[in-house]
């Protein structure tokens, strides 16, 4: 029943969004090439924009993966937390402490700069 509801929501919103985008413009002609050129204030580009783009925050993404794994651990942990009591607190404390050391190390190494 829940999945049916989600499916209905997905189909209606996706369909509605696409219809709203397509319907008012169904009879418009295709834009000319000069209209489709990238807006650069009147200038023109040398190349396509797609390229091996130099991402500046790649060191941060490595740290993110570590935290994502912690998040995966925390989903079931949160459900059984109250029953487990102090043991759960200890486990989570250790995990968080280790990852905090990771953040501190990253900060010292300049991982959060826009390199």
């Amino acid at each position: 029943m829940e999945l049916l509801a989600l499916l209905i929501v997905l189909l209606i919103s996706l369909g509605g969004g696409l219809l709203l985008q397509w319907w008012p413009n169904r009879r418009q002609p295709m834009a000319t090439y000069p209209q489709r050129a990238p807006f650069l204030g009147g200038g023109w580009p040398d190349t396509h924009a797609w390229s091996r783009y130099h991402l500046r925050y790649y060191p941060m993404t490595l740290l993110l993966i570590a935290f994502e794994m912690e998040m995966m651990f925390m989903y079931p942990w949160a459900v059984v937390y109250v029953e487990q009591g102090m043991k759960a607190v200890m486990e989570m404390g250790m995990f968080l402490a280790i990852l905090c050391v990771g953040i501190l190390y990253g900060w010292r190494e300049g991982v959060f700069k826009w390199q």
């Binding site: 000069p34 209209q35 023109w44 580009p45 040398d46 190349t47 396509h48 130099h54 500046r56």
Partner: protein, 427 residues
């Protein structure tokens, strides 16, 4: 008909205008920015009107045609104190030459466009891809195997070069950012080479149009001028520059307030201006203009600062101010203020401090009716004018911007005033 009530509803909204500023077009721009029914947008795709304000020199007609064709249908063009392009004159474009009539003409044109009274919008450039690519290469996509060629009409960004910040060699993006880019001085055209969003190289192709200053400065160069009037003009200049920086910072209501204060500079009493400006400055600090937005990059070294002069030099610690040598100012107790770090943040702190100083000086000058004592030397807000007016400084950007992130680079350009001073005063 559904179409008609929808377009009537749309016609009641604000007129969305993309301003393509030519020479001496800023006056119209500032007037329109204050008008509530006109919305000046940053991209031609978000506009239904193209306003060409001020004369566009012939070498910039091709960029103008490119921007014109980038507006989506339905749209129309309005020309303010500017000769319309030849191809458009047959289409019956609207030319307005008086500033009072301009806002109504824009709103009127917007309504006409939405009611469909203007017919098909003309396109100026030929409908062809920038490079011939159909039928070439293995699948007709313009490519030549693994590398090279012009897939889908443009080459792919290829040569990897070492980056300025961390030395990784990835692709660079090269493009020309043109004279009608709304977020930097009008007329500035530069070839920008980016890697990621860090500027690797910035070469100025076309300098920004010289800006017209208030006639008060021209008069002060020739004969003695009331210090109160001079300082009011200075405040107006700095507040208008602040408008651009605040728009860039995503604070449209503060930008509007700065412009309102600038317009009130001629009319209101000094005490009202001082109070208004103090509230405004407090607001700037509380809303994170310095803490969140302004970067601490774009530092000028000593030789650049000396060459630039004006508030930028004083922000870098060089305490040169022609007003110190003026007897009229000395009697009012003038002392030059300066900052230490010559970066973007300190340039704005310097400018705001100078505005506050100017208002205090104007208040004192008004009580004594003080006038300037020396002629032939004027400290304009842009720099000192001794024998020559302060000139264009865009070559400085080529040395200052490489290594800066995109947002930081634009904020740095907004904090400097690289356009030279025009030989004609503002009308």
């Amino acid at each position: 008909m559904a179409v008609s009530w929808l377009s009537r509803l749309a016609a009641r909204g604000p007129a969305t205008v993309f301003p393509a500023l030519g020479m001496q077009g800023e006056e119209a721009f500032y007037q329109l920015a204050l008008h509530p029914e006109i919305e000046l947008v940053d991209s031609p795709r978000h506009a239904s009107l193209l306003l060409v304000a001020g004369g566009v020199p012939p070498e910039l007609h091709e960029p103008l045609r490119r921007v014109h064709d980038q507006l989506p249908a339905p749209f129309t063009t309005l020309w303010y104190q500017s000769e319309p392009l030849l191809e458009l004159q047959q289409a019956g474009v609207v030319r307005v030459d008086s500033l009072e009539a301009l806002p109504d003409a824009l709103v009127d044109a917007h309504r006409k466009v939405l009611r469909g009274e203007l017919g098909v919008s003309p396109r100026l450039l030929v409908d062809e891809p920038p490079n011939p690519w159909r039928g070439l290469g293995d699948d007709g996509h313009g490519g030549e195997g693994m590398m090279g060629g012009v897939p889908y009409g443009r080459p792919m960004a290829m040569p990897p070069t070492q980056d300025l910040r961390d030395g990784l060699a990835l692709d660079t993006l090269t493009f020309r950012l043109g004279p009608f880019f709304p977020l930097w001085p009008a007329g500035l055209e530069a070839e920008v080479i980016l890697q990621g969003d860090i500027v690797q190289q910035f070469s100025v192709q076309s300098r920004p149009f010289p800006r017209a200053m208030s006639p008060v400065f021209f008069d002060a160069w020739e004969h003695a001028m009331s210090i109160a009037r001079l300082e009011r003009a200075r405040v107006q200049y700095h507040l208008r520059a602040l408008f651009h920086a605040l728009h860039l910072a995503g604070l449209p209501d503060l930008a509007w307030r700065a412009l309102r204060l600038a317009e009130a500079c001629d009319r209101q009493t000094i005490t009202a201006l001082e109070k208004g400006f103090k509230d405004f400055e407090r607001c700037l600090k509380r809303r994170g203009f310095f803490a969140l937005h302004l970067p601490t990059c774009g530092t000028l070294n000593t030789e650049h600062a000396e060459a630039l002069g004006g508030f930028a030099a004083r922000a870098a610690g060089i305490e040169g101010d022609a007003r110190r040598d003026d007897e009229g100012y000395r009697r009012l107790g003038f002392s030059a203020i300066s900052q230490q770090a010559g970066d973007t943040q300190s340039r704005w702190r310097q400018r705001l401090a100078e505005v506050a100083q100017s208002l205090t000086l104007a208040a004192r000058a008004q009580q004594n009716d003080a006038v300037t004592a020396t002629t032939g030397v004027v400290e304009t807000p842009r720099g000192v004018w001794r024998d020559e007016r302060p000139g264009d400084a865009s070559a400085l950007l080529e040395k200052l911007l490489p290594g800066l992130e995109w947002g930081e680079a634009l904020a740095t350009i907004a904090s400097l005033d690289v356009a030279g001073v025009s030989q004609w005063a503002r009308p």
